[in-house]
Amino acid sequence: MSVRVGVVVFPGSNCDTDTLWGLERAGAEPIALWHEEADLRGVAAVVLPGGFAYGDYLRAGVIARFSPVMRAVSAFAADGGLVLGICNGFQVLAEAGLVPGALLRNRSLRFVCREVVLRPARLDAPFTREIPAGRLLRMPIAHGEGCYYADEATLDSLEESGQAWLHYAAADGTIAAEADNAANPNGSLRGIAGVMNAAGTVAGLMPHPERAAEAILGSDDGLLILRSLVSSAAERVAAGRPAAVTTR
């Protein structure tokens, strides 16, 4: 039995179709969730896709935060539901305070679109459990505002707890320092490419797993993350965890 996973569509989302397709390849029954609906239609997990929600006006992700669907997603997350934010979806999660930190303008001031190497910090999370030990991941990034920022104390605790679950790395797996322009595409502090909440149920990442979900695209490493999410969601459904309820 396949598990139902929702992909939120904001005005300005542009990776929603790819994400629906990637989730299907990962074994899910994906459905689109319109931003004006506060009903998650019984999904077992939610993905916020990339794009420019509400034009990225004011700050990337901030206006999306106040949409009806995000009220439902916040309630779902507060109840322990699995939520993954990709690129602009990560920015939405950060603005909503569902994951720690903020995403600043890239240090180079350029929109960067290229493949990066990623090193997972932990393989026990709902978003990483299908990744083989020691495996580095290759997938594309495409963003202008992906420079991860949090204060020093927060960074320390994120690293220690493994909430900083994904780092930009060199080809040999060395984590990319802020000034390592070759491996760290946006100047993210401590090379952080993805963070999750303390409970390990809500995660964001700047790279695009759905754009690396089939070998013909140059890499299918992104499937490992999507499959992790789908198998975690399926396991929760099998264990009798109620999926998202309809809220009014």
Partner: protein, 99 residues
């Protein structure tokens, strides 16, 4: 003869949002790095922010300011990385048009 309703006035505010001290500001740095091309020296610590102007209808200035404070803190700025200042541009009775 009509009886005047509850007094409500319009107040025009500006909210100035800037990156907090110590937060990387690549835009400010880019502006700063362009200054030598203009032949300008002796200018530093450039920080680029955003200014939002808005009109609030409220019984008095204090009530209007409360609304602006909330918008500034919850929507117009991200308290992790930005700070804001509120300026009253024009008050009372009629909507001030910016000069």
């Amino acid at each position: 003869m009509s009886i005047p309703g509850p007094a409500a006035a319009s107040f025009r505010f500006a909210v100035n949002v800037t990156p907090k001290e110590g937060i990387l500001d690549p835009q400010g740095r880019a502006v700063e790095q362009s200054l030598p091309h203009l032949g300008v020296t002796g200018v530093g610590r450039v920080r680029v922010g955003r200014r939002v102007e808005l009109t609030v209808e409220a019984p008095d200035e204090a009530a209007a300011r409360t609304v602006v404070e909330r918008l500034a803190a919850e929507l117009l700025s991200n308290p992790l990385i930005e700070q804001y200042g509120i300026e009253l541009l024009g008050g009372a009775s009629s909507i001030a048009t910016g000069q």
